[in-house]
C-alpha cells in the first residue's frame, strides 16, 4: 500500500518497454523519491560510465505519498550521472508530472539506451509508445510542451528539454509546465544524448492508502497545525524572493561573481519588487503552500524568478533590473538551462572581461550581452561555445581558476560561504557538487542565531541536514514544509500501513547519503574534491556582516576531518566497511 508496485523500463535503443515489480526490500530501506531513485540507479549502472553515453540511465521516481492529498508531495525525483560533475546526480522537479506517473500505475520509470533519431515518449496508463520528434527538435521547452499538449490532450503532464539539452550542454535542465525545472547538473543533456525530447504522461488509476479515513485524519491535522503555519506560509506570501533581503542583510548575497556579499541594488530585485509584478500564485499538485509567483514585467512573463535566479543571475551579474532578470529567467526556462549555473558562468565571463584575462564582451551590470548569453550558451554559438561548458572549463582554458566558483564542476548557488562557514561544508560534501539542497545550515547561521564564523558544531549541523533532506526528498516532500521527523513518520506510517519511526527515517537518510557517497567514491572522488574555490579561502569580502573575512583553509580542513569522523568515513572520505554494513548498504 502507498506504492503502485511497478517500475516501468523504457529502452530507447530497442524502442521497447517492460515493467518490473517494485523491489519491496529497497522500498522498505529507501522509501521512494531520492532514496529509491539512487538505489535503483546505482544498482543498474556502474560509476565508470560516460554520462552522455547510452550506458547512462535516468531514473524517475515517485514515492509513497505521490498522488495523495499529503501537502507538498507533488514532486518527482530524477537520478542520473551528471555530465557536469561526474557524480551521481539527483534532481527534483515540482508541478504535476510526478503524481501523474503514479496515477499511470508506476512508482518509477527507468530510461535506458539511446534512440537513433529524436523521439518523445508517451505513457498513457499501461500503453507506452515512442514517437518521432524530428519536428520538435530544435525548439524550446515552451513550444515543445504546448505543441504536445495540443497534440495529445491538455491533461498530459510533460517534461521536456530545450536546445540546451539537445546540444548536450552540461548545464541543461528538464522543464515542466513551462517554468518548473529539474535544474542542476545537466540532466537535460542526458536526455539529449539519448535523443529523448520529452516524456508525456497521463494516468487514470487511483492511488490507494491502507486506511483512507485514518490517512485523511492524520494528514488533515498536520496540514492545519503543522503545514499552514507561520513557519511555512512565507512560501505563500512571498516565496523564495524573500531570501534576497535576508541574504543581503547577512552579507551572503553573491555579488559580482562572489566578490562581495552585499549588493547595492538589492531593492530592485527583492521580494517587494517581485510582489509588485506578481499576477497570481501557483502551486504544485497537492501543495497547500503555493510558493510559485507568476509575474509579468513589460512583455516578459515567468513563473519565478526564484531566489537562486535573483541571486546568481541578478546580484552576481551586477544586474539590478528586475525585468532583465525575468527575461533572462524566461529565456533559460525555454532553452532548458539551469539559471544557477548560467548566472554563474555569465558572472565569471564578466569578471574575466573586466580583469582583462579574456574579453567575452560583457561586464557587470551590462544588460544587452547578459540577455544575449542564454541563447548563445544553449546553442553553443560564439562565446556560448565556451560558456556552455561551465566555469571550470572556462577557467581551465582562459585562467581565473581561483575565482571559478564551483565545486566538483557544479557552480555555487546563492549563499556566500565566507559569511556562513557551515554552508561551505555543505557545498564541499554535497553528493552532486555545489548544492544548497543537501543541507542548508544558513538557516541557522546566517539567518538564525548560530555564529556563522566558526566551525564549532557545524559538521554535526550539516550531517543532520543532509540526512533530513535525503529522507524528506525520498518521501517525497518539498523543502518548504519544515516538517519534523516525528510528523514525517506519522505521514509515512499512514501512507505505507506499517509503523515507521522518526529514528528509522533518520537512519534511512544516513543510508541514502552513504549510498550516493559510495557511488561517488567508486567514481574516483576523494577528499581532494571536497573543497571550495580559492577565492573563499584567500580573498576577503568587501562589505556587510562578513566584511574583511576569509574562510581560513585550516579551519575548513579541520571541520572536514571532523565531518568524516562523525560519519564513520576514513580520512579520505571513504565510508568504512563497518559503516556500510551497519546501514545495510551492499
Amino acid at each position: 500500500m502507498g506504492y503502485a508496485g511497478k517500475v516501468l523500463f523504457i529502452d530507447l535503443t530497442s524502442g521497447t518497454s517492460r515493467t518490473e515489480e517494485l523491489n519491496r526490500e529497497w522500498a522498505r530501506l529507501y522509501f521512494g523519491g531520492k532514496g529509491l531513485g539512487v538505489k535503483y540507479f546505482a544498482s543498474l549502472t556502474g560509476p565508470g560510465i560516460d554520462a552522455l553515453s547510452p550506458d547512462n540511465k535516468v531514473v524517475l521516481m515517485t514515492g509513497p505519498l505521490a498522488g495523495t492529498i499529503a501537502p507538498c508531495s507533488g514532486r518527482l525525483s530524477v537520478t542520473t550521472k551528471s555530465p557536469a560533475s561526474g557524480t551521481i546526480l539527483e534532481c527534483g522537479v515540482g508541478g504535476t508530472v510526478g503524481p501523474e506517473i503514479k496515477f499511470a500505475g508506476y512508482d518509477g520509470i527507468v530510461i535506458e539506451g539511446r534512440s537513433d533519431a529524436p523521439v518523445y515518449a508517451v505513457i498513457d496508463d499501461d500503453k507506452v509508445t515512442l514517437h518521432p520528434a524530428g519536428d520538435l527538435w530544435g525548439r524550446g521547452c515552451h513550444d515543445t510542451e504546448l505543441v504536445l499538449k495540443e497534440r495529445l490532450g491538455e491533461e498530459f503532464r510533460i517534461v521536456s528539454i530545450g536546445q540546451a539539452g539537445e546540444n548536450l550542454v552540461p548545464m541543461a535542465c528538464l522543464t515542466s509546465e513551462l517554468y518548473r525545472q529539474a535544474g542542476r547538473g545537466g540532466i537535460g543533456a542526458v536526455f539529449g544524448s539519448k535523443h529523448l525530447k520529452a516524456l508525456c504522461v497521463r494516468g487514470t488509476k487511483p492511488v490507494r492508502v491502507p486506511n483512507i479515513a485514518e490517512f485523511m485524519k492524520v494528514v488533515g491535522e498536520l496540514m492545519r497545525e503543522d503545514c499552514l503555519t507561520d513557519t511555512n506560509l512565507w512560501a505563500r506570501t512571498d516565496g523564495t524572493p524573500l531570501l534576497v533581503e535576508a541574504s543581503n542583510s547577512a552579507g551572503i548575497l553573491p555579488t559580482r561573481n562572489f566578490q562581495d556579499g552585499v549588493f547595492e541594488g538589492f531593492k530592485a530585485i527583492n521580494s517587494e519588487s517581485v510582489r509588485n509584478v506578481r499576477q497570481r500564485k501557483n502551486a504544485c499538485f497537492a501543495c497547500t503552500l503555493a510558493c510559485g509567483n507568476y509575474v509579468r514585467a513589460g512583455e516578459a512573463v515567468v513563473e519565478g524568478p526564484e531566489y537562486e535566479t535573483l541571486a546568481l543571475a541578478g546580484s552576481n551579474c551586477g544586474i539590478s533590473d528586475l525585468e532583465a532578470v525575468i527575461r533572462f529567467n524566461a529565456a533559460c526556462d525555454d532553452l532548458g538551462l539551469d539559471t544557477i549555473s548560467a548566472g554563474n558562468v555569465v558572472a565569471f565571463a564578466m569578471e574575466l572581461t573586466e580583469k582583462g584575462i579574456h574579453d567575452f564582451g560583457m561586464r557587470f551590470g551590462e544588460i544587452r550581452p547578459y540577455l544575449e548569453a542564454p541563447a548563445l550558451i544553449a546553442n553553443r554559438e560564439g562565446i556560448g561555445a565556451d560558456l556552455a561548458l561551465g566555469v571550470r572549463h572556462v577557467a581551465g582554458k582562459y585562467g581565473g581558476r581561483e575565482f571559478a566558483m564551483e565545486v566538483k564542476g557544479l557552480e555555487i548557488p546563492g549563499y556566500e560561504p565566507r559569511g556562513a562557514w557551515g554552508m561551505g561544508l555543505a557545498y564541499a560534501t554535497s553528493d552532486r557538487g555545489a548544492c544548497h539542497m543537501r543541507a542548508w545550515p544558513v538557516a541557522d547561521e546566517a539567518y538564525g542565531n548560530i555564529d556563522p564564523f566558526t566551525i564549532e558544531g557545524k559538521a554535526a549541523l550539516v550531517i543532520g541536514g543532509q540526512h533530513y533532506n535525503a529522507i524528506k526528498f525520498s518521501m517525497i516532500l518539498c523543502d518548504f514544509w519544515a516538517i519534523s521527523l516525528e510528523n514525517m513518520a506519522r505521514v509515512a506510517s499512514v501512507a505505507t500501513g506499517r509503523h515507521v519511526t522518526a529514528w528509522e527515517l533518520e537512519r534511512a537518510g544516513e543510508r541514502i547519503y552513504n549510498t550516493t557517497r559510495l557511488f561517488n567514491v567508486r567514481a574516483g572522488f576523494r577528499r581532494a574534491a571536497d573543497t571550495l574555490p580559492d577565492r573563499i579561502f584567500k580573498e576577503a569580502l568587501k562589505t556587510g556582516r562578513a566584511a574583511g573575512r576569509i574562510y581560513p583553509k585550516g579551519e575548513f580542513d579541520r571541520m572536514l576531518s571532523e565531518y568524516y569522523a562523525l560519519r564513520g568515513w576514513d580520512e579520505e572520505g571513504v565510508p568504512t566497511p563497518a559503516k556500510l554494513e551497519e546501514l545495510e548498504i551492499s
Binding site: I69, L146, T204, L228, A283, C284, F285, A286
Partner: protein, 128 residues
C-alpha cells in the same frame, strides 16, 4: 452554494483529491465530481474550475426522476437506469458513471463539501 474563484485558485487539486477520498475512498482527480484544469500559454496562465452550481438540469432531464434537487442534486441509485442523459446534459461536465454505468453526481456532501473544506486558499467556498 459551492463557489469557485479562479483568480484565487493555485491549481493544487486538493479539492479533487478530497472529493475522491470522501466519495470513493481513493485518491484520483479523474474520479472526483469536480474538475480543476490549469491552462498554460506563453503569455498567460489560468486555472479553470468546473463545479456543480445546482442548476438542476440533471434532475430535469432524468426520465425516471432518480435525481431530486435537495441541498444539491441527490440521486437514488435504485431508480437510476444508467441512461447517461444527465451526464450529457451537465454544463460543467462533472457527472460521472459508476462501474454499472449509473450516475455519480456531486451532492455537496450533504451541505459540508469536502472539496471546499480542504481548499487551502479559499478558492472553493461553501457559501450559504
Amino acid at each position: 452554494m459551492l463557489k469557485f474563484y479562479g483568480d484565487r485558485c493555485v491549481g493544487c487539486q486538493a479539492c479533487q483529491l478530497a472529493c475522491s477520498a470522501e466519495k470513493m475512498g481513493v485518491f484520483s482527480p479523474g474520479l472526483s465530481l469536480l474538475k480543476i484544469s490549469a491552462r498554460f500559454s506563453k503569455t498567460d496562465r489560468s486555472v479553470l474550475g468546473f463545479v456543480c452550481d445546482a442548476c438542476g438540469r440533471c434532475a430535469n432531464v432524468c426520465p425516471v426522476e432518480a435525481i431530486v434537487m435537495d441541498c444539491g442534486p441527490k440521486i437514488d441509485p435504485a431508480l437510476c437506469t444508467a441512461c447517461g442523459l444527465c451526464a450529457e446534459e451537465c454544463p460543467q461536465g462533472i457527472v460521472l458513471e459508476d462501474e454499472e454505468g449509473k450516475a455519480r453526481i456531486c451532492d455537496f456532501c450533504g451541505g459540508s463539501p469536502a472539496c471546499a473544506g480542504w481548499c487551502p486558499v479559499e478558492a472553493l467556498r461553501w457559501e450559504v
